[in-house]
């Protein structure tokens, strides 16, 4: 084996990892465990049986029928039937139920008098996703009863129930969700969180590998093993990180498209190319962050600020179009913001290759710009031993 050069740097890096269980764990085992945890967390796909309380102050056959229909909804579980709203609110505050369905006294009688009182769902919007599911299911149960009554009343104009229903549904809103039509939260959360978690792990691992040499004042030994050239030293040093994360990223795609059976609507190859580029971007960002700080701890702090908060600005849940200008602008400076629509387009949407290429342009810029910033800074710093060793 050559004593200096690319292979020598690589060998030096691998030897270090072999002797440092912590670094190996941070590079490999910790990310793998986190990905498995995240995948497992959302494995039920769609929340079911969310507990609610029902306050039935009507005690009519109609209100009992409504309670039965509520209990039969997939998303709901009628956990408590307190006598009053005040008692029910305490059950909500204690966290045992997520909402209260209130059926007022004389509800059925007033309906028959054509002066209906509403059924009120008091949900808990501090739990936004849960409130959405419960709201939809309670609405469905209540309207299913209301519609039956309406049809019966409309039928007096003749033509029987079928025609009455047709007349009532003259103009409808046909609401459809394309791409992930069941709104599986497994596909949604796992699909978005696994790549962003891996992106973050990759930046941390690359920052750690590079920043370590400055912390330990071993920059000269590192460069010497490479035979002097900074590009070769960087390539050899970051090759293990790059290879591990390229494989893990393709493992994510294989898990989704293969094991979980979510076949991509677009192109598997284009999706794999995009996630591979995200990993390369992670490495170049690490080069930039270490170049800017020459300090492992500060580079990691910046990683927290720049990468770990990126999810919030990416539009993965709250749409970017709805954000304020500053948040939109900052989101545009984060690579994951640009990766996300490319992945969702190829995986779920079936976007065209042209759309993909258009989306890849900013991602590729995230390879070039960090290198343009980071490489000159590093090139200068490796010749200035006085600046090494900062913690």
């Amino acid at each position: 084996m050559a004593t200096t050069g690319l292979r020598a740097v690589l060998a030096r890096e691998l030897q270090y990892l072999g002797g440092q269980p912590w670094d190996l764990a941070l590079l490999l085992w910790f990310p793998v465990a986190t990905l498995v945890l995240l995948l497992w967390m959302f494995s039920s796909g769609i929340p079911t049986g969310l507990p609610i309380a029902v306050v039935d102050q009507d005690h009519s056959s109609g209100s009992r029928e409504l309670v039965r229909r509520l209990a039969s909804m997939r998303g709901l579980a009628v956990r408590a039937q307190p006598p009053s709203l005040e008692a029910a609110r305490s059950v909500v505050r204690s966290g045992a139920v997520y909402g209260i369905v209130h059926i007022p006294a004389n509800w059925e009688r007033d309906q028959l008098r054509h002066a209906p009182q509403p059924v009120v769902l008091y949900d808990n919007a501090q739990f936004s996703l849960v409130a959405g599911i419960i709201g939809g299911d309670v609405r469905a149960a209540v309207t299913s009863m209301a519609v039956e009554r309406l049809v019966a009343s409309e039928a007096r104009f003749g033509g029987g129930f079928a025609q009455a229903a047709m007349r009532l549904n003259g103009v409808q809103a046909d609401l459809r969700t394309l791409f992930n039509p069941s709104l599986s939260y497994e596909a949604y959360f796992a699909g978005m969180l696994l790549p962003v978690a891996l992106h973050l792990f990759c930046v941390i691992a690359a920052v750690s590998a590079l920043g370590r040499e400055f912390r330990d004042r071993s920059v000269d030994a590192w460069l010497a093993s490479a035979g002097g050239g900074l590009p070769r030293a960087l390539a050899g040093k970051l090759a293990p990180v790059g290879m591990v994360y390229l494989l893990l990223s393709l493992g994510i795609v294989a898990t989704f498209a293969g094991w979980r059976g979510w076949a991509p609507a677009g192109s598997l190859v284009l999706w794999m190319m995009a996630i591979a580029v995200l990993m390369i971007v992670s490495v170049t960002i690490a080069i930039m962050l270490v170049g800017l700080t020459l300090n492992l701890r500060r580079a990691l702090s910046l990683t927290g600020f720049y990468v770990a908060t990126g999810l919030a600005f990416s539009g993965f849940s709250y749409p970017r179009a709805a954000m304020g200008e500053v948040a939109q602008w900052w989101g545009g400076l984060l690579p994951y913001t640009h990766y996300l629509p490319v992945q969702q387009g190829q995986w779920l949407g079936g976007a065209s290759a042209g759309t993909w290429a258009h989306g890849m342009v900013p991602l590729l810029a995230f390879i070039a710009v960090p290198l343009l910033v980071g490489l000159p800074l590093l090139a200068r710093a490796v010749r200035q031993p006085a600046r090494w060793g900062a913690r």
């Binding site: 995240l38 505050r93 609405r139 003259g170 394309l178 992930n180 978690a197 600005f313």
Partner: protein, 383 residues
């Protein structure tokens, strides 16, 4: 070292560390302004729709003009065919497609069933719900007018129509807490607790790791370490965590106008308990890592799993039992639930009993872990 001496020495050590003082003192305020930025607009607005109007009638134009009056969506343009719009939806450039079918207004007038079709994208569920909900409401408004016109034609008395028009809705969906249904109010209330925990765990574990490296600090210096020293050190670090939590529940929520102040005294008491727990865990981790930088390497990537394990974003009922059990070991799990119940929902102390018990258990567990880890490290150092 007495408890009080250890407390003072710990606070002094945190403030004198030029790298970490930023984490102890200013990181929480910085994140309190930075993190809520995306959510400050509170509700979905301006997401783009493409309209495919195959009817081109006054009625279909009426639907489009009503859509442009809805804040959550914006009519971003027109397409002549669904296939043309579908590509833009798949690529994420638009959020939804509204299709008015051919002969829509004629069928509506005749009573032939017809429908306005709305396509959202399940690739972005929050946006999807906003699109389907708002377009659905507009179409229902039009449908109600069409039905009324037909009923009048069929001879329903005007008085009866008026009565049914004035009748309230059959169903009302009213939030008990977070009354504006603000997206930021929901996310920030939970994430703020996570921010304090993560920033403080990194700062404490990093400083304790630095102590181990340099054989210094209250716990790793040459002097003997008794229970008083450990308790004083925990209290010293807990002071920073406590101030971070108070900053959020007493200032940031007020300044940024998020729901707050439900049970302020209870929240302050729970903040003290949480602060002691986080400080103990930070000391245990720092003694274990024995290194200045490792806390950052390990903890940076835990924020996302910790947030989702907390059960606010994705409900506990839908998570596997072992994950819920694991989540109980993370202070943010009882922390986020407890603080949301106290601050945003105004829970009484007895109503946060599960969170109080969970957090107290963690304090004992991590207090014990800190004691054990410090002793093991000190023994290693003398060997």
């Amino acid at each position: 070292m007495t408890l009080w001496q250890a407390l003072v020495a710990t606070v002094g050590s945190a403030l004198r560390d030029r790298g970490l003082v930023i984490m102890f003192v200013v990181a929480v305020p910085i994140y309190s302004f930075f993190y809520p930025l995306p959510y400050s607009t509170q509700s979905v607005r301006n997401v783009a729709l493409l309209v495919v109007d195959l009817d081109a009638s006054p009625m279909s134009r009426d639907i489009v003009s009503r859509l442009s009056a809805v804040a959550s969506v914006r009519v971003g343009g027109r397409a002549s065919a669904i296939d043309e719009a579908r590509g833009a939806l798949a690529g994420g450039q638009i959020a939804g497609i509204v299709v008015v079918p051919e002969n829509f207004s004629r069928d509506a007038a005749r009573g032939t069933p017809t429908a306005v079709t709305v396509f959202g994208t399940g690739a972005y569920p929050v946006q999807d719900k906003a699109v389907l909900g708002s377009v659905g409401a507009v179409v229902q408004g039009v449908a109600g007018e069409v039905t009324d016109a037909r009923l009048a034609r069929q001879g329903t008395p005007a008085a009866a129509l008026l009565q049914s028009e004035r009748a309230g809705p059959a169903f009302i969906d009213q939030p008990l807490y977070n009354l504006a249904r603000g997206y930021g109010s929901y996310v920030v209330a939970a994430v703020s607790i996570l921010i304090v925990q993560q920033v403080m765990l990194m700062a404490i574990a990093s400083l304790v790791g630095t102590w181990v490296e340099g054989r210094t600090g209250t716990l790793f210096g040459p002097q003997a370490v008794g229970p008083g020293t450990l308790l004083g050190t925990i209290a010293g670090f807990a002071l920073f965590v406590f101030l971070g939590l108070l900053y959020f529940i007493g200032f940031a929520f007020w300044f940024q106008d998020y729901p707050r102040g439900g049970n302020f005294a209870g929240a302050v008491a729970f903040a003290a308990l949480t602060a002691l727990t986080v400080a103990s865990l930070g000391i245990a981790l720092g003694a274990w890592f024995a290194n200045r930088e490792r806390a950052f390497q390990v903890l940076l990537a835990t924020s996302v799993p910790f947030l989702f394990m907390g059960g606010i974003v994705f409900p506990r009922e839908a998570m596997p039992v072992p994950i819920n059990a694991l989540a109980m070991l993370v202070p943010t799990t009882p922390g986020i639930f407890g603080f949301v119940k106290l601050n945003q929902m105004g829970a009484t102390w007895s109503e946060i009993r599960p969170e109080f018990l969970n957090m107290t258990g963690l304090l004992l567990l991590y207090g014990g872990a800190a004691w054990w880890a410090v002793r093991v490290r000190r023994r290693q150092a003398t060997e």
